[in-house]
């Protein structure tokens, strides 16, 4: 809704109409902030409760009435949490999975999207419609045959089933990068061709550098997706030494059903890398989401 500039105060006395308008706008602003603050606090409460519980000694965890700010702090929860399960091993597994899955996604989708966006060839549009159509296929349909395939290849309990497919493109990322690459000026390609650049040269020297924002968006999405991934590791990683943190966290839950302090400390340590990451990548991330929700 239009927020018109109120008449500059001080120049002359405001008429009662102007004052009424001014007050209504003030009231609207106050109400807007009040609603946002109430919902905002509600949205942050789970995270506050996670951190608060992670710092409480066990006796205080089960204290009634509940206390949002701990009475006594027990930082040692964080150390105990890393000793109760092979925490560092699982953290490394999550990191390893994330790094290689992201490398695969960035390399393959940039490459593939270029073929769909910048090179004209017979059959391109038909194939692109097939790419889009694969997004409709639920993971559950592919889950069982892929499990059988990877079992036969002897890849179970390794990260190969989770990482290798990433090197062969992903419909959503191809779509996203293609949309971006199509907005790049075509004159650049033509100029490069006149100068004798090969198709590969145009890809590597023109398309890739100019597509950095889209590449960054894919990387950010994939890092978050992999770090969060639960189903993939659940299906393929059955051996406890191979667990990622998303699977490993459940160990506290069964073994230490009552040790909420340690569990919340581990959950916080699992979450914090994402928060730090977000603060560095915030702008590209928000832009990326906006890009995917774009028209046409």
């Amino acid at each position: 809704m239009a927020v018109l500039q109120p008449a500059a105060p001080g120049r002359r006395a405001m008429s009662s109409e102007e004052r009424g308008y001014f007050l209504r706008q003030r009231l609207k602003t106050v109400i807007t902030h009040a609603i946002l603050i109430v919902f905002g606090i509600t949205f942050m409460l789970p995270f506050v409760w996670m951190i608060s519980s992670s710092l409480k000694p066990n006796v205080d965890i089960f204290e009634l009435p509940v206390r949002l700010i701990p009475k006594t702090y027990r930082i040692e929860n964080y150390i105990d949490a890393t000793n109760a399960i092979p925490f560092w091993q699982y953290l490394w597994n999550s990191t390893y999975y994330t790094i290689f899955a992201t490398i695969g996604a960035v390399l393959s989708n940039t490459f593939i999207a270029y073929g769909f966006a910048r090179v004209r060839w017979r059959g391109r549009n038909v194939l692109f419609i097939i790419v889009i159509a694969t997004m409709m296929l639920p993971f559950q349909v592919r889950m069982i045959p892929l499990y059988v395939l990877f079992a036969k290849l002897g890849w179970l309990n390794s990260f190969l089933p989770l990482i290798v497919p990433n090197f062969f493109g992903n419909a959503f990322y191809i779509f996203l990068m293609r949309q971006f690459m199509m907005t790049l000026p075509k004159e650049l390609d033509d100029a490069a061709r006149i100068d004798g650049a090969s198709e590969w040269g145009i890809f590597w020297r023109i398309a890739v550098p100019l597509s950095k924002p889209a590449i960054l968006t894919v990387a950010i999405f994939e890092i978050i997706h992999t770090w969060h991934d639960f189903v993939g590791p659940l299906v393929y990683l059955r051996h406890p030494t191979k667990y990622t943190l998303s699977i490993g966290l459940r160990l506290y839950f069964t073994q230490y059903g009552a040790e909420w302090g340690l569990l919340m400390a581990a959950a916080a340590m699992f979450t914090i890398p994402m928060v730090i990451f977000f603060f560095f990548a915030q702008r590209s991330f928000i832009e990326g989401i906006t890009l995917t929700g774009l028209k046409g």
Partner: protein, 306 residues
């Protein structure tokens, strides 16, 4: 959303036309290989498995014809329960998340101060790993010592058992899913920001009321974002698995047994891979049908050109 950009090649003088298909295929080859290995093969294999009795231990499918499908429709109460639960979950989540997210995005679009702080807060739940968030919610909704009932106690209300009661478990999960729907807020916010101010100013001059402006200007111009969010939300919520599997495991009394949870249990707990494949195919057809219906009825109403 999926509307293809007009092929620039069809416009005169835009691109040179003597490209060899070889270069295009060269770039697209990784996708073709992946498509054959990780989509086409599983697609047909799972169709074949769905007509077999297939045990995970010996990997030898035995042909049983339509037995799995017959059993599914006539002798498996869990199939119908899970379909009902998934539809309920998707429908309620769709309504709740859409209304809430549009409302929040609208407030954020009003030129508020501290916009980036608010935006980060509403987006924050998306950053918390699903497992960490789910375990935290289990603890928050703990009937005796959790934050939720603790706060209700302070105002003298005896809170329910949330995830542990068949009456409230489903609604708790939907509430948590709305909490985690910050992506939608960002998309709606960008939609609101795209609406030209001048339209509202013109409407003000014509004396339009706030409600009229909402129905005649805001909603139509927000339709691309609504369409995108509705389609993705339906497709994803019908496939919801992780949060529910972690928080309730489908219980209590199967009250939150979503379709994907039932399917996973059949495949990897009972090792009935053939039967689970039949379940997967029903799911695929269901989602496909629903998507086509949405596209048919909604896409015509979406206004793309501004």
């Amino acid at each position: 959303m999926f509307k293809l950009k007009r092929d620039p090649a069809k416009q005169p003088n835009s691109w040179r036309t003597d490209n060899l298909p070889a270069w295009g295929l060269f770039f697209v080859t990784p996708w073709i290989i992946g498509f054959l290995a990780f989509t086409v093969y599983p697609f047909f294999a799972s169709l074949y498995f769905s007509f077999t009795n297939f045990n995970i231990i010996n990997f030898s499918p035995r042909w049983v014809g339509l037995d799995n499908y017959v059993e599914l429709f006539s002798a498996d109460p869990l199939f119908w329960i899970s379909i009902g639960n998934s539809i309920k979950y998707a429908a309620l989540l769709l309504v709740a998340a859409t209304i809430f997210d549009i409302f929040i995005a609208y407030l954020l679009s009003l030129d508020v101060k501290f916009l980036s702080i608010y935006r980060t807060i509403f987006f924050f739940p998306v950053l918390v790993p699903v497992v960490a968030a789910s375990l935290t919610w289990i603890w928050i909704l703990n009937p005796r010592f959790g934050l939720m009932n603790g706060l209700l106690d302070l105002i003298g209300v005896k809170g329910p058992n949330w995830l542990a009661s068949p009456n409230t478990a489903m609604y708790s999960l939907i509430f948590i899913a709305v909490w985690g729907s910050g992506r939608q807020v960002i998309v709606y916010l960008s939609g609101f920001n795209d609406i030209p101010r001048s339209l509202y100013e013109a409407a003000d001059i014509d004396g339009a009321s706030g409600i009229q402006k909402f129905w005649r200007i805001t909603l139509p111009l927000l339709s691309p974002q609504i369409f995108f969010n509705v389609v993705t939300l339906i497709i994803f919520s019908l496939q919801s698995f992780s949060e529910v599997y972690i928080m309730t495991g489908g219980g209590p009394a199967n009250s939150t047994l979503l379709y994907a949870v039932n399917l996973y249990n059949r495949a990897f707990r009972d090792f009935a891979m053939g039967y689970a494949s039949a379940l997967a195919w029903i799911m695929f057809l269901l989602i496909l049908g629903l998507t086509l219906i949405i596209f048919k009825f909604l896409s015509g109403r979406v206004i793309y050109e501004r």
